[in-house]
């Protein structure tokens, strides 16, 4: 080194030549050591120079010096200031030396210590190795150490330590205090309180940093949290860059605590924000609803007022939503879900452990939306649309008819997520896929629907009729004896009449006691895979119910046609059997009544119940755009039918009534059969009688009486039946009156107020009877029979006049007169009753219902009356 050679030269030149080499070397090393002391010197500047110069007494010298300085500045020397400084120092030192004795002891003991500049330390090494002045320099060291303690720690050391602590690492002077949970400067180090405060504030940074680091280094399952870790790590890169910058500055030794503080302000602010967010997130990690929470929090923070914070968080948010966006893309375009940590808001519905039996349930139940996990930026509507789209694709996939057509669509990006375009986009995709679905389903659906209507809803009349004819013998057996295969074979034979190939099946319901085959028979239509979603189990059940009901009514109708056929046979009976004829007439009337009811009711069902709902349904069908809607309107259609045909819970009572009516009709049929058999018997008997007329005259009378009795029984039973039937009809009509939309049915069933009239007269007659019994005892002599029965009894009565022989005309006329008187009495009594009624009506105590009934006889009764009179006249 040049310095060394120069020094060597200097020393050699200074000392006399007689010096020994060793001592020369010693000196040299000593001087070199001194030179290598690194001290923070401050060069003399202008003001000091001036001060020095004014101290000089010799003015001329001062001038000369100034002159020299000027000249020096013109030279090419590089380190002029150093040179000047050196010269002045040397002179100073020289002067100082010359003031006192030459030994250093006395020098230091003297008062002139203050004039000596002790701003530098003389390190111990040099003192130890100094050849001669060991003791003296020791003393120097001691004094300097005692005098100035703070010299041991410099700002640079502190800054070095601080750089470590802001990375969360303990260092020489700054350590981690677990009690206070912070980084703090050691208390036993003497630095100014201002520096201490600054340091502590900046150590806070280190603490925040440590916390964030623990978060970024922990392991999480959730993809969103991993993304969050990554983004935070990226943000921390900035921090690291800052630290590197600090280290650079430190090497250049231009870094101070204040500078660091100013530089750290913004990063600290960011760290604080990040920590806030993290603390909110981490408390919820245990709860399990993290990902949506994370995103919601980040979203809210990204709209923070402070622009830097909002930028920071929008960056983080960008990164963190990548997994969610990926999920959405996968779901929307692929229909698949690969979510291991269950962060996505659409999840598989395994928790209920539903056994998915058919794709109907698959559609509804396989996936579901978990509303807790929907992130903040996606609205509920959009999330449901997304859910729907994926479901559609999934379903289509399962039917193996899925064609991907996402060529038109770009994948969703994160920027799109919070905007309106997102909803529009999702909507569009949803519509496309749903269109595909509907196109796939529609033709099949229409076919199936039509088929169901024709068969299950008895649309194809002639087929149903033939089926019934063929099946009736089988179905009349008790339920246990009905076998499916027999029924199926009959069904297939019925198919021969139908042109198309149909997928019908026989379903046998659960038989209960006393059931015949009729109750358990049900037609079934086999539904294929894709349509299972629409025609699922529940819906098919309701279809079966409707079918059952309609089938019953059809059966009743069928029964009545059979009755009519029987009637045709009755026509063959010769006219002499008047009693039987009367019975036949009665049964014919009843049959007509029942037929009227059934026909009207059935037409009501087919037209108002089924057809109108059908029309509505078909209209809606064309407008429908997705599967859910289709299912809904179909269900609506069915519930509508159920409602109008009294098959739901509301119409249960009406249904019971109807079933009772049907029951009576069946009993009527059996009654008729009895009548027919009796008639046949009669005919066969009378044939015999004509041969043995004279011999068996008495017997004939007996037999005829027996016959009469039997006939009367039949007629009685018929009349009973009619009474019961009519009672039920009245109830039904009452019920129908109450509802608005059933008014038309009511009108049809009772369109000339036939039943109303009967009701009213019956009511009147009942009350009349009671009244007469109570108040007018003298009327008991004359037997007042209710008009209704009068007509039937009149049938019986003519028998007697037939067999009675009137000996004289007079007797006959007396008979007639008595009958007429009786009738007149009846009229009088009626009038009296009316008067009494009026009297009673005025009394506040009783309000007899008699008032409401018109006192006059109805047309029907009048006719009957006339009939009586005319019949009594016939003789």
């Amino acid at each position: 080194m040049e310095t060394q050679t120069l020094l060597h030269q200097l020393v050699k030149q200074a000392f006399p030549d007689s010096i020994e080499d060793s001592t020369l070397n010693n000196y040299k090393t000593y001087f070199l050591r001194i030179l290598n002391v690194r001290t923070g010197i401050q060069l003399m500047d202008e003001s000091e120079l001036q001060a020095e110069m004014t101290k000089m007494t010799n003015k001329s010298q001062a001038y000369r010096l100034q002159d020299c300085l000027n000249r020096l500045s013109k030279t090419r020397l590089r380190k002029k200031n150093e040179l000047i400084h050196f010269l002045f120092r040397t002179s100073q030192l020289g002067q100082n030396n010359s003031y006192t004795n030459q030994t250093l002891d006395t020098l230091f003991k003297s008062q002139e210590i203050s004039q000596i500049n002790y701003s530098q330390t003389i390190p111990k090494k040099i003192i130890e190795e100094s050849p001669k002045n060991n003791d003296q320099l020791n003393i120097i060291q001691q004094i300097t150490d005692k005098g100035n303690v703070t010299l041991s720690i410099t700002e640079k050391d502190l800054i070095k330590d601080l750089i470590f602590s802001i990375q969360g690492i303990e260092s020489q002077f700054i350590c981690y205090d677990p009690i206070n949970d912070s980084f703090q400067v050691k208390k036993d180090i003497a630095i100014s309180s201002a520096s201490r405060k600054l340091l502590n504030v900046m150590c806070e940074c280190g603490w925040l940093f440590k916390k964030i680091q623990t978060f970024t280094q922990s392991n999480y399952n959730s993809l969103v949290l991993q993304a969050l870790q990554n983004s935070i790590k990226e943000e921390l890169n900035e921090y690291y860059r800052l630290i590197a910058y600090f280290e650079n500055l430190l090497a250049e030794s231009t870094l101070t605590l204040r500078k660091m503080y100013m530089w750290l302000k913004q990063p600290m602010h960011h760290l604080v924000q990040i920590n806030l967010v993290l603390s909110q997130i981490l408390t919820n990690v245990q709860l399990g609803t993290t990902s949506s929470l994370v995103i919601s929090i980040l979203c809210r923070y990204s709209k923070h007022g402070c622009p830097q914070t909002s930028q920071l968080f929008s960056r983080i948010l960008h990164q963190t939503t990548i997994p969610i966006v990926r999920f959405i893309n996968q779901w929307i375009f692929d229909g698949s879900l690969s979510d291991q940590a269950q962060e996505f808001f659409i999840e598989r519905n395994d928790s209920n452990k539903i056994q998915i039996r058919d794709s109907g349930e698959l559609w509804k139940n396989e996936f579901k939306v978990n509303q807790d996990k929907i992130p903040y930026m996606i609205s509920l509507n959009d999330s449901y649309k997304i859910f729907d789209t994926g479901r559609v694709i999934n379903w289509l996939r399962k039917q193996k008819k899925f064609t991907q057509f996402n060529q038109n669509y770009d994948l969703i990006t994160i920027d799109l997520l919070g905007t309106e375009q997102f909803s529009l986009f999702v909507d569009q995709v949803n519509k496309e896929y749903n269109k595909q679905l509907i196109q796939l389903i529609k033709p099949n659906f229409k076919i199936t629907l039509n088929a169901i209507k024709r068969f299950l809803l008895l649309g194809q009349g002639e087929f149903i009729h033939t089926l019934m004819e063929l099946l009736q013998t089988e179905l009349n057996k008790p339920a246990q004896q009905c076998y499916r295969h027999t029924l199926l074979s009959i069904l297939e034979s019925a198919f021969k009449n139908v042109s198309q190939e149909v997928r019908l099946n026989v379903k046998l319901l659960e038989p209960s006691q006393n059931d015949t085959g009729w109750e358990i028979f049900c037609l079934d239509y086999t539904i294929d895979e894709p349509l299972n979603t629409i025609f699922n189990q529940k819906i098919m059940l309701s279809y079966y119910r409707i079918f059952n009901f309609l089938w019953r009514i059809k059966r009743v109708e069928f029964t009545l046609t059979q009755c009519w056929k029987m009637h045709q046979k009755f026509m063959a009976i010769p006219n002499q059997f008047q009693t039987i004829k009367k019975a036949i007439q009665l049964s014919y009337q009843m049959m007509n009544e029942m037929q009227h009811f059934i026909k009207n009711f059935y037409s009501y069902l087919m037209l108002e119940a089924i057809e109108s709902s059908w029309k509505k349904f078909i209209d809606e069908c064309d407008k429908i755009q997705d599967l859910d809607g289709l299912i809904k309107i179909h269900e609506l259609f069915i519930s509508d039918i159920l409602d109008r045909s009294f098959l739901n819970t509301k119409g249960e009572s009406t249904q019971k009534l109807l079933f009772k009516l049907f029951d009576y009709i069946f009993r009527f049929k059996s009654c008729q059969e009895l009548l027919l058999s009796y008639a046949k018997d009669q005919i066969s008997q009378t044939d015999n009688q004509q041969l043995q007329l004279k011999n068996l005259l008495n017997k004939q009378q007996n037999i005829s009486r027996l016959n009469q009795n039997k006939n009367q029984d039949i007629i009685k039973s018929l009349l009973e039946l009619r009474k019961q039937y009519r009672d039920q009809m009245f109830e039904l009509l009452e019920k129908l009156k109450k509802e608005d939309r059933l008014k038309f049915l009511h009108f049809k069933l009772d369109f000339n107020e036939y039943y109303l009239g009967i009701q009213e007269s019956k009511l009147f007659n009942q009350d009349l009877e009671r009244f007469i019994e109570k108040c007018l005892p003298k009327v008991n002599e004359v037997q007042i029979q209710p008009n209704r029965v009068q007509s039937s009894k009149q049938l019986i009565q003519p028998q007697q006049p037939q067999q009675r022989t009137f000996n004289t005309n007079i007797e006959f006329q007396n008979e007639v007169r008595s009958v007429k008187e009786g009738l007149r009495l009846l009229d009088e009594q009626r009038r009296q009753q009316l008067q009494l009624k009026d009297q009673f009506s005025k009394s506040p105590l009783q309000k007899s219902p008699l008032l409401q009934i018109p006192p006059t006889m109805t047309e029907h009764e009048k006719r009957k009356n006339d009939e009586d009179l005319s019949s009594s006249d016939d003789d």
């Binding site: 030149q13 200074a14 010096i19 001194i34 030179l35 030279t75 002045f88 020289g94």
Partner: protein, 86 residues
């Protein structure tokens, strides 16, 4: 004289001047100025020593330290002379 020449050559090499004569003159002039200053300030250094010292400073030696060294050297010299006189 040889010393002087040495010194001047040192100065030349350190000052990095191109033409020799000009360098020489300039160097001499600078040295003169410095010598005058040291004389005014009563440093007690002759030209040779000054030349070396200036070279050292130009090389980057700490002037404070150098001043100390010079001081030490002087005192050592004195003591040495005292010792060796005896």
């Amino acid at each position: 004289m040889s010393n002087n020449q040495n010194n001047s050559s040192n100065l030349k090499s350190q000052l990095k001047v191109s033409s020799l004569s000009q360098e020489k003159e300039e160097a001499q002039e600078t040295l003169e100025i410095i010598h005058e200053m040291s004389q005014i300030l009563n440093c007690g250094l002759d030209r040779q020593q000054l030349a070396i010292l200036v070279s050292m400073i130009e090389n980057g030696v700490n002037p404070e330290a150098l001043a100390l060294v010079v001081n030490e050297m002087k005192s050592e010299l004195n003591t040495y002379k005292k010792i060796h006189k005896q």
